[in-house]
């Protein structure tokens, strides 16, 4: 049975789509790790709403001009590494796809960026000198599904239409001329596709933006139905695993839905959250115990540190442990990679379901109080539910036990991933 399982995943990971995905995200990882570090410093340490800044009462001794300037710099790092990552994804995906089929990777990459830019043109907004007329949400790290698919498509256009390129150590100038002109045909086809996409967006007034997910998010923020909450949580997690991280990020922001506010008011009046009106609020169950930016990724990182032998993966896990503690998992998800990785899809979805259902069960049994009090951004993830229940020690113990259970659950899957990685590595050596 286990071998059959291994074979199925091995067979899937050999598909060009997933091979390209793994390569793309691993290449992108260093860039993202830098952004992740900046983000962690901002959301957990220096930002005005951040955890350390508040619990150390830093506003009493750190002058605002200093924090303002540091935040400005950190923001520039974060912006540079996250907000235009879509362009790099498009470039890398097309490049790797073309390379896989021995075609011109560079020209495929450039063409892919061109196509993405055309498709994301947004001329309806007033274009001043300082703002580029592109839909920024399409180019963001939280929306890399589309750049990825586009890159894969452009890579395949090169696979079909461009001549074969052998590996050259250092090509001559004349050879370069030939290669560049050979890319004209696939480039034109990709251009037409880009134009059609842009036209479609323009004609149908499609809103390619985060707003598409808003009804999904607002339902999760206000549903008290456990099954509905878990279902939406699964959808949101699935989206995050295929490169649409916006819903997870949005859920992590403070919940201002009527239900959450009612919960908080009730909790604040009674100084505890045992009797809140909406006990099983989907978003609170999810962000408290099952979100990718809470303990789930943390459990996976710990498992990798405990189990994996590959020193680079261990190094990645080591570097990611710190940001993931404070709820910023992006670098690790791209670097392992977890994104577009069929091996981790199932265990993560199961763990989300399990964590939410178990928490709901304990809530129903009245063993733990609900998560209702405000929590600072960047609070250490394992103790965030503790803070959100105004310091319930039961919840603290429960979240630690849950973390241990998750680590045990991920163990066989990480081992499976190791075996598949080994098999793929052996194949590629031959």
């Amino acid at each position: 049975m286990a071998e059959r399982f291994e074979f199925i995943f091995y067979w899937i990971s050999k598909k060009s789509f997933f091979r390209v995905a793994q390569r793309t995200f691993i290449t992108l990882m260093p860039l993202l790790l830098i952004g992740v570090m900046a983000q962690t410093l901002m959301t957990a340490f220096i930002g005005y709403d951040s955890w350390l800044y508040n619990i150390s009462y830093a506003y009493q001794f750190i002058p605002t001009w200093l924090s303002d300037n540091v935040l400005y710099l950190l923001n520039s790092v974060r912006f540079a590494s996250f907000n235009l990552a879509g362009l790099l994804v498009a470039y890398l995906t097309a490049g790797y796809t073309a390379k896989l089929f021995h075609k011109d990777a560079q020209m495929a990459g450039i063409t892919s960026v061109l196509t993405l830019l055309i498709a994301s043109y947004n001329g309806n907004q007033p274009a001043t000198v300082t703002t580029l007329p592109f839909n920024a949400q399409l180019l963001d790290m939280n929306m890399v599904l589309l750049p990825f698919l586009l890159g894969y498509l452009v890579g395949n256009i090169f696979r079909w239409l461009a001549p074969r390129q052998g590996h050259k150590r250092f090509e001559q100038l004349a050879g370069l001329d030939v290669r560049v002109w050979q890319a004209v045909k696939p480039m034109l086809v990709a251009l037409v596709i880009g134009l059609l996409l842009a036209l479609g967006v323009y004609l149908f007034k499609t809103k390619i933006s985060n707003a598409v997910f808003n009804s999904l998010i607002s339902t999760e923020l206000s549903t008290n139905n456990i099954l509905k909450g878990v279902g939406l949580a699964l959808l949101i997690t699935l989206l995050a695993l295929i490169g649409i991280g916006y819903p997870v990020v949005a859920l992590n922001n403070s919940n201002n839905s009527g239900a959450a506010v009612a919960n908080m008011n009730n909790a604040l009046i009674h100084s505890n959250s045992w009797r809140v009106p909406y006990k099983y609020l989907g978003s609170e169950l999810y962000t408290g115990y099952a979100s990718l930016s809470s303990s789930v990724t943390l459990a996976l990182i710990i498992t990798v540190l405990l189990v994996m032998h590959n020193r680079y993966k261990r190094r990645l896990a080591g570097f990611s442990l710190f940001p993931a503690m404070f709820g910023v998992p992006t670098g690790f998800l791209a670097g392992l990679p977890v994104l577009f990785n069929p091996v981790y899809l199932l265990p993560i979805l199961i763990v989300v379901t399990f964590n939410m259902l178990l928490s709901a069960l304990l809530l129903w049994l009245n063993w733990i109080p609900a998560v209702a009090f405000p929590v600072l951004v960047g609070t250490l993830q394992p103790i965030a539910p503790f803070v959100a229940t105004n310091g319930s020690w039961r919840v603290l113990v429960y979240s630690i036990i849950l973390l241990v259970i998750d680590v045990c659950w991920f163990r066989p899957w990480v081992k499976l991933d190791m075996k598949i990685q080994e098999r793929v590595a052996n194949d590629e050596k031959e």
């Binding site: 508040n54 604040l268 100084s271 540190l305 080591g318 503690m325 103790i383 503790f386 803070v387 105004n390």
Partner: protein
């Protein structure tokens, strides 16, 4: 085996670090939740009053006496004087059980003019911040006489947004406030009036606004032109939940005696204050 150990150490280190942060996080959480809880439970709705130019914090003494006449539960009165350096001087006190204390905030520098109104709004904000920290109220009601109404408007447009998560202004009553200074027509817009119009979208949407003005002659209260007061319409109407302009005339309708005009006192009682509970209970006693 060496490599494996490294992983364990890292996990252990992080674990210890998180354990070390539990207490400070816990302490912060306790304080912050306690403060928020106090605010949620607070039933106090202070009336914060700003006098006009050239007036001191004692400008409303007579009004307060009239407001407390024939009441069993007297409103307590706190007066705060703000110096240009932000120093606050308190006179009087708020009774602990007073649900509607009256708070007067006055300024050492009480001169007229737009630039000074901006400064006064800043000084007022210093006092307001301190009040909100000290008394943990959630709702409040605003009253501004003459330039006091202009300071309120400026403060609502420029400072209020930093409080509106936690605090809520319910009503604003301005009395003889020259929104367009001495100008008789809205065609001649003063700088201040243009600014008020420019930022009017920032006014809170749920606010109930009352604009009272006196009529000594048919066109002014003797000092402020009626049209300058009524220019307030273009600031508040369609921006806040409701806006009402009220004209009072009679013996005390002259600008400087407006605060002690009987009609103004009644409007103040009616729109800004709760009914006296004792009298109310007597009236509503059920028939047996």
């Amino acid at each position: 085996m060496m490599k494996k150990n490294k992983g364990y150490w890292l996990i252990l280190l992080v674990l210890l670090l998180s354990l070390a942060t539990i207490y400070p996080t816990y302490a912060w959480m306790r304080d912050s939740n306690k403060e928020m809880s106090q605010r949620r439970q607070s039933k106090m709705t202070p009336v914060i009053m700003l006098p006009g130019s050239s007036a001191s914090i004692n400008r409303f003494n007579q009004l307060v006496t009239l407001l407390n006449q024939n009441r069993k539960e007297k409103h307590s009165l706190l007066k705060i004087q703000v110096d240009p350096n932000g120093k606050l001087t308190y006179t009087g006190a708020i009774n602990r059980n007073d649900r509607q204390p009256l708070i007067v905030v006055g300024f050492s520098n009480n001169h007229d003019g737009y630039s000074n109104i901006k400064k006064q709004a800043y000084w007022f904000d210093e006092a307001f911040y301190q009040l909100s920290e000290d008394y943990h109220f959630r709702n409040f009601v605003a009253f501004g006489y003459s330039n006091g109404g202009l300071i309120w408007t400026y403060w609502l447009e420029h400072y209020y947004h930093s409080y509106d998560d936690e605090l809520n202004i319910k009503r604003l009553m301005t009395l003889g406030s020259p929104y367009n200074f001495k100008e008789n027509s809205t065609k001649m817009k003063t700088q201040m009036y243009s600014d008020f119009l420019k930022y009017r979208k920032r006014l809170p949407k749920h606010l109930l606004a009352y604009n009272i003005y006196g009529g000594e002659s048919y066109t002014s209260d003797g000092l402020v032109p009626e049209n300058s007061v009524l220019a307030g319409k273009y600031i508040f109407q369609n921006q806040v939940k409701s806006y009402m302009a009220i004209n009072v005339t009679g013996d005390d309708a002259q600008h400087s005696s407006l605060p002690q005009d009987t009609q103004v006192v009644n409007l103040f009682k009616h729109y800004l204050l709760d009914k006296d509970k004792h009298r109310l209970r007597f009236k509503l006693q059920p028939r047996r």
